[in-house]
């Protein structure tokens, strides 16, 4: 019988209205690298939050056995005390503090009088840095380091806590190839020192290269645990486990009659706003009138970044590439120009980027089209009300009047307000980023119906979605995006979830 350092048995976690995990089982052998795979929203992060005590014992059902003992962690401190350290995708370092200060934050090295002994701290930090292969002075402020090096600081910090089980959530998502290779090498090195690692990753090649076992999670349930030493288990085998999600919504029928090309993008390349890496790398695609084109990609693939950079360069810094509308090159350098050119972008995060939640429906709907509703800078309040009222009816926004405050509407109705706002600008191309995220099934169906009406009216629609069934159910054509590059293009009748997933996880071969 294998020696399991961690067993999670029948873990069930529910949020109001949603069952995020149901009866999940995970067994990790001592000293192995164990990968967890699953689509966006499959429940990987929730499972790790249960394990690390972010959701304390009592908030979930099931049992965690760590190092032979049943554990009930009340918080992160408890789990860290037991030797479980989690490194999140968004690094939790204080940029203005030095490496040593960050490493010992919360567990400061105290000397006489309870004051911090900086000589000791810096010396210890230096040792830890050498063990992770980071050649930096412990007094360097963390903010001056690149993401790859910051990742190493996080690992050094974990090592300072006598870690037995290290959990890395998407450790290489923000790293370039060299840094990724170095990090994976380091994880192997930790393995030799007896540290067990759990890696959550979308990069399946990396998993195949490094993991001893892979547990696949889908829709909050364990699908299977694969033994990676079996030569028959490769990327394709993992993908087969990840996809096959049941249809959770139905899609209204639509006849497809694509017309002339409306949007064409050639070699679009965008750099990260602060880091020196390409987020979108020579992406080319086109959309026709009356056509719904999907963009499939996993978290961090650059979907939103691609869309926003096309929308008046509102993300990152433009490097190169051309955009054509109706065959004519368009240089929309800011959002206002993009709107004028006929592009609309409905954000994936409507509360943060889409709506003024403290204002009413009417003024949210008119926000991007005030130019059309005004003469000499004066807004025609009656026309505005009429337009908003028209949207309320045609979109079936469930609110008593258009002067209802948007923050009080349900997610589905808020999304309809976002769509109304963009339709009022009368765009030729609508980019819908996760148009059904966080809304219920009924409202999803309504959104799909609205999309169908738009293409029937000759609009070109781009749908970005994490849910492959949604793309398969609404699109005519689907592009796949992986690490900023378009890796494939499939007409919907040729596309399958497996096919898309394998294109979505395609990446440059790993070095080393």
């Amino acid at each position: 019988m294998a020696d399991h350092i961690l067993e999670m048995r029948s873990i069930t976690k529910t949020f109001p209205g949603v069952r995020a995990l149901s009866d999940v089982t995970l067994a990790v052998e001592r000293g192995e690298v164990h990968a967890i795979c699953g689509e966006n929203g499959a429940g990987k992060s929730t499972l790790m939050k249960v394990l690390s005590g972010v959701y304390p014992a009592g908030e979930y059902e099931g049992e965690i056995v760590f190092d032979g003992q049943v554990c009930s962690f009340a918080g992160i401190r408890d789990s860290e005390h037991a030797g479980i350290v989690i490194i999140h995708q968004e690094l939790a370092l204080v940029p203005y503090l030095s490496i040593a200060e960050n490493i010992f934050l919360g567990s400061e090295k105290r000397g006489r009088l309870g004051l911090i002994d900086w000589n000791l701290a810096n010396a210890e930090a230096g040792k830890l840095l050498r063990s992770v292969g980071l050649a930096e002075s412990p007094s360097t402020p963390v903010g001056t380091l690149g993401v790859g090096k910051q990742q190493l600081v996080e690992i050094a910090k974990a090592l300072s806590k006598d870690v037995k089980l290290l959990i890395l959530d998407e450790p290489t998502a923000a790293l370039n190839d060299t840094d990724s290779a170095h990090l994976l090498g380091l994880i192997r090195g930790l393995q030799e020192r007896g540290i067990t690692s759990i890696i959550i990753s979308h990069k399946l090649n990396e998993i195949v290269a490094i993991a001893d076992h892979t547990t696949v999670i889908r829709d909050g349930q364990t699908v299977e645990t694969l033994d990676m030493s079996d030569p028959a288990v490769g990327v394709d085998r993992i993908i087969r486990g990840m996809v096959g999600r049941e249809l959770d919504s139905y899609y209204p029928e639509r006849e497809s009659h694509p017309g002339a090309e409306v949007l064409r993008v050639e070699g679009w390349t965008v750099k990260h706003p602060t880091q020196d890496r390409l987020v979108v790398d020579h992406a080319s695609f086109d959309v026709r009138a009356g056509e719904v084109v999907g963009i499939a990609g996993l978290m961090g693939a650059g979907r939103t970044e691609l869309a926003m950079s096309l929308f008046g360069r509102s993300y990152g810094s433009y490097v190169e590439g051309k955009m054509f509308l109706h065959g004519k090159e368009t240089r929309a350098r800011n959002v206002a120009e993009a709107i004028d050119a006929g592009i609309a972008y409905a954000t994936e995060d409507r509360k943060k980027y889409g709506l003024n939640l403290i204002d009413n429906i009417s003024r949210n709907v008119s926000a991007a089209a005030l130019g059309k509703l005004s003469t000499h800078g004066l807004v025609d309040a009656n026309e505005e009300t009429k337009a908003a009222e028209g949207s309320r009816r045609s979109m079936n926004i469930k609110a008593p009047t258009v002067s209802s405050i948007v923050g009080k509407l349900s997610g589905g109705n808020q999304q309809k307000v976002v769509l109304s706002k963009w339709l009022l600008t009368d765009p030729d191309v609508l980019i819908l980023d996760e148009p059904t995220r966080g809304i219920d099934v009924g409202a999803k169906y309504e959104i799909y119906t609205i999309i169908n009406k738009l293409v029937a009216a000759g609009k070109a629609v781009v749908v970005i979605s994490s849910e492959l069934p949604e793309l398969l159910g609404t699109c005519d054509r689907i592009y796949t995006l992986s690490t900023g590059r378009i890796t494939g293009q499939l007409p919907v009748r040729e596309a399958t979830q497996e096919g898309l997933m394998s294109l979505m996880t395609q990446e440059k071969e790993l070095v080393g």
Partner: protein
């Protein structure tokens, strides 16, 4: 068109085409609204008016009616006009999510500019006025540049401006006061229109002006209501609507009656009324005003809706500079000279007026009228306490507590609104 229907009924004019799919539960509030819904639905905005009425009544009782005497009402207006003018600009700054700490110093430096031009160089009064406004606009552009285009928080930029322009005032005035102004200039703030069309013991012209204003208000309100009905929007019921107009008319005419029995119509009140009207339209009806609210409400969403955030922020501060200059002119005219310490702590009064008047600390909320009532509330309170001979120290403490409570009320309201979803 003008039936009086209860609060839960369907919108009358459009009921034939009204959507049938609106669930009954959410249909509440459609149609015309009663007094209760009018007050409770918008406690944030109505709270300040109720508080104002209470404070006015309270001090009328405490001072035995002196606070509402013709002379005193005129005094309050003259005394607080420049704070109110500053508050107009300040509420716009605050709605956009900024703050301006420099306006007191800008009042001083613009007043000093005009004093130097008119008193020291003997220029006509209008040269002083134009000079002051020019300096105000330049200062606004200076602040706007640093806030909008360099991206430095307004708190820092205007804190620097506060020191910078106070120093500049001292420099311009050589550390001494300049006075007196010519009579033309000092009439801006202390002038009255009186006896233009006669009246026995009262100024008929004042009453006429106010009567026209009330009539204009009634007509514009009626037209707005008609338009709302035409577009199927909820409106107050007709008796309530009439009651509201009558109440406003009675209060305004009573105010006019008192003014007419004192020194007549102060020019300052005319300036203030014009500014309130213009900026009421600017904030509520113009694209610029909408963009200000959008920036304060959700900066990211505004940017992604095509709002040119930098330009809007720039012009907000230019406008604040302009209004600070107007306040500087009124203040220098009223004090009939320019002092190195003029306008000290005016910024705090203007900020307090905006917040007491319902502006939100987080931006996106606030109205010009609210800020006016907030400023008047503080004015009536201070004036009442002065009449009662309350010690300066107590006055300051009371003002501080009122500000704190007003913002606490706002935060409480927001938490309640947030909890509902």
């Amino acid at each position: 068109m003008t039936q009086t229907v209860g609060p839960t009924s369907e919108p009358e004019a459009e009921s034939a085409t009204a959507p049938k799919d609106v669930a009954p539960a959410v249909a509440n509030g459609v149609g015309t609204s009663s007094v209760r819904t009018l007050l409770t639905r918008n406690l944030r905005t109505s709270g300040i008016y109720i508080a104002f009425v209470v404070v006015v009544a309270l001090f009328a009782i405490l001072t035995g009616g002196t606070s509402l005497s013709p002379g005193n009402i005129t005094n309050i207006i003259l005394q607080y006009s420049y704070i109110l003018i500053l508050a107009i600009g300040m509420v716009i700054v605050i709605i956009a999510g900024h703050i301006d700490l420099s306006v007191g110093s800008v009042v001083a430096v613009t007043g000093a500019t005009s004093a130097v031009l008119v008193i020291r160089h003997g220029m006509p009064w209008w040269v002083g006025v134009l000079g002051a406004i020019g300096v105000g606009l330049l200062i606004g552009a200076w602040h706007g540049f640093w806030v909008a285009y360099v991206g430095i928080p307004a708190f820092i930029v205007t804190l620097a401006g506060m020191l910078l322009f106070r120093g500049l005032t001292l420099r311009i005035l050589d550390n001494i006061s300049l006075s007196p102004f010519t009579t033309e200039y000092s009439r801006i703030a202390s002038g009255f229109s009186n006896g233009l069309i006669g009246g026995a013991g009262y100024d008929a012209f004042t009453l006429l002006v106010f009567a026209i204003a009330v009539a204009g208000y009634a007509v514009s309100q009626y037209r707005t209501r008609q338009a709302s009905v035409r577009y199927g929007q909820p409106v107050e019921s007709m008796p309530l609507f009439i009651a509201k107009i009558v109440a406003v008319a009675v209060v305004v005419m009573a105010f006019a009656w008192q003014l007419a029995h004192a020194r007549g119509l102060p020019y300052v009140l005319v300036i203030l009324a014009v500014l309130v009207l213009v900026y009421g339209v600017v904030t509520k009806r113009t694209v610029f005003g909408r963009q200000v609210y959008a920036i304060g409400g959700n900066l990211a969403a505004a940017t992604l809706s095509g709002v040119k955030v930098k330009a809007v922020n720039f012009w907000i501060f230019v406008n604040m500079g302009f209004l600070a200059a107007v306040a500087g002119i009124v203040f220098s005219s009223r004090s009939n000279g320019a002092q190195p310490g003029a306008g000290n702590s005016f910024e705090l009064d203007a900020i307090a007026a905006a917040f007491i008047g319902g502006a939100a600390v987080t931006g996106g909320v606030g109205t010009v009228v609210g800020a006016m009532v907030g400023g008047l509330l503080v004015g009536v309170m201070s004036n009442g306490m002065q009449l009662m001979g309350v010690d300066q120290s107590i006055q300051s403490m009371v003002k501080g507590l009122v500000l704190l409570l007003a913002v606490a009320f706002d935060v409480y309201n927001k938490r309640r609104a947030g909890a509902s979803r």
